[in-house]
């Protein structure tokens, strides 16, 4: 038996959310006394894959097919199914990110494996396999039991802190027998934002409060590099340019409403630029 973890990448780097999934999966593996094996697809830096050992993976199965740089969900579903078969995977872990939301349900139906989407806690294996998740859009929690032999869990991003230990993972080339017929979704164009930090990769997320209204008032906060969230009822994220230094005092809001800050944790290099 083993725990199989999908470690997806973005621009040849393993995503932060994927590192969380690898560490989460390795903790399940420790609970069950089985190895944790990561699966990566597309062109990924070899050192990045070896470094997954620091997050608990003992081995990485790598399908180095450039067509999977933007993971085609059907093809990756096949890759994961083949990996599960090869390594006798009993628990399969994804991040509940864009890729995980697409691939995990398909894999669940293919393997007839019970699936819990958006886990916020490690499974309770004392009596079965029970996973906690948010329901009713975060207003409550549900404890969900997976009753099948094979189990799939997707981990809600930014729920677990990631800490790199020591160790390297053995990277093994993997062929899942993909054919052209497996690539049914053709990527025509990818538009990525450069010079800004995607929300899901941000170390710090700052919510400015409704009073700051829009980007025209962000100039009074000069914080880099982080992702700025304007607190509107719909909580739609906004991006702000990086690179500016921090002012000597925190910003004075331009409205009567005091700003709020949420989910702050210091990112590397940021503490040196704070001037309280």
């Amino acid at each position: 038996m083993s725990v199989i973890i999908f470690a997806d990448q973005f621009q040849e780097k393993v995503k932060k959310s994927a590192l969380e999934a690898v560490q989460y999966g390795s903790r399940i593996a420790q609970q069950l006394g089985v190895p944790a094996i990561a699966v990566a697809v597309g062109e990924v830096d070899g050192a990045e894959l070896s470094a997954l050992g620091q997050y608990g993976a003992s081995k990485v199965l790598h399908v180095a097919d450039a067509r999977l740089n933007e993971p085609e969900s059907g093809a990756v579903t096949k890759v994961m199914a083949e990996a599960v078969a090869k390594e006798n995977g009993s628990v399969i872990v994804f991040s509940h990110n864009f890729a995980g939301r697409s691939i995990a349900p398909q894999l669940s139906a293919r393997l007839k494996a019970g699936f819990v989407a958006g886990a916020i806690g490690l499974p309770d294996t004392a009596a079965g396999f029970v996973v906690k998740k948010n329901v009713f859009s975060g207003k409550a929690f549900a404890n969900v039991s997976i009753t099948t032999d094979k189990k799939i869990v997707s981990v809600m991003p930014n729920t677990f802190s990631v800490s790199a230990g020591s160790g390297t993972a053995n990277v093994e080339a993997f062929s899942a027998g993909l054919t052209d017929a497996d690539y049914r979704i053709k990527t025509v164009k990818v538009e990525t934002v450069s010079g800004e930090v995607p929300l899901t990769e941000a170390e710090i997320v700052v919510s400015g409060g409704r009073g700051l209204k829009g980007p025209e008032n962000w100039g009074s906060w000069k914080i880099s590099p982080m992702y700025w969230v304007r607190q509107r009822p719909a909580a739609v994220p906004w991006r702000m340019p990086t690179g500016a230094r921090i002012m000597s005092t925190l910003a004075r809001p331009v409205s009567p409403y005091a700003p709020t800050c949420t989910s702050l944790s210091v990112s590397p290099g940021l503490s040196s630029t704070w001037q309280a």
């Binding site: 621009q11 933007e70 969900s73 059907g74 579903t77 509940h96 864009f98 939301r101 697409s102 691939i103 995990a104 349900p105 398909q106 894999l107 669940s108 139906a109 007839k112 494996a113 019970g114 699936f115 819990v116 989407a117 958006g118 948010n134 329901v135 009713f136 859009s137 207003k139 409550a140 929690f141 549900a142 404890n143 969900v144 039991s145 997976i146 009753t147 099948t148 049914r184 979704i185 053709k186 025509v188 164009k189 990818v190 538009e191 990525t192 934002v193 995607p198 990769e201 005092t249 925190l250 910003a251 809001p253 409205s255 009567p256 409403y257 005091a258 800050c261 702050l264 210091v266 309280a276």
Partner: protein
Amino acid sequence: MKILVCISKTPDTTAKIAFTDNNTKFSEAGVQFIINPYDEWYALVRALELKETQGATVHLITVGGADTEAVIRKALALGGDEAFRVNADSQDSYYIASQIAAVAKQEQYDIIFTGKETIDYNGSSVGGMVAELLGLPFVSIASKLDVNGTTATLKREIEGGEEVVEVSLPLALSAQKGMAEARIPNMRGIMAARTKPLKVVEPVAVDALTSIVSFELPPAKAGVKLIPADQVEELARLLHEEAKVI
């Protein structure tokens, strides 16, 4: 073109969330139910736009008891042509997807829409499972869909940007914000919905793969400390010394 839109009955967004039966069941007392917003505003409306521009036929499907018929009628009032209700109740995504796939297999749809997720159980699973059970390509969390003949072009968000993809029909997709603008049914649609076909079908035999053992409510929130807008330094001090978040 034949389109299937999967819709779900969910509690209104302002509903008070409470549980009964020793926290194993959602309490429906005093709760208003609506069509899941992602299903209605984005999936269904886009399907109706394709009906208006390309002459598609739009079918609806719900897995649920007779209490779901009110939301089905609303979806028909918006413009759906025909509806199926699978007479079963389950919280397991695979069970629900299997029921939908059983109906869809007989009807041979070109496009199967779901919403990004339901606002009650937040599973984001049914669309992908239906696609797999029917052997269809699946595009998740799509914010745009155009159809030209037998080719669909979709836009979806990815980490750090957006991706445009092309897929040959038939396909399944989950729709999110940006796919369409919400509509309100007009009186003519409401009257017509009363006589549109609503077929009740019995479920196929499928085992659920998961079950909800219990629900929990979050702990009561602690008191809020309000800081006047002109005391930013005090705010910074409190965030640093008390909340310890900076």
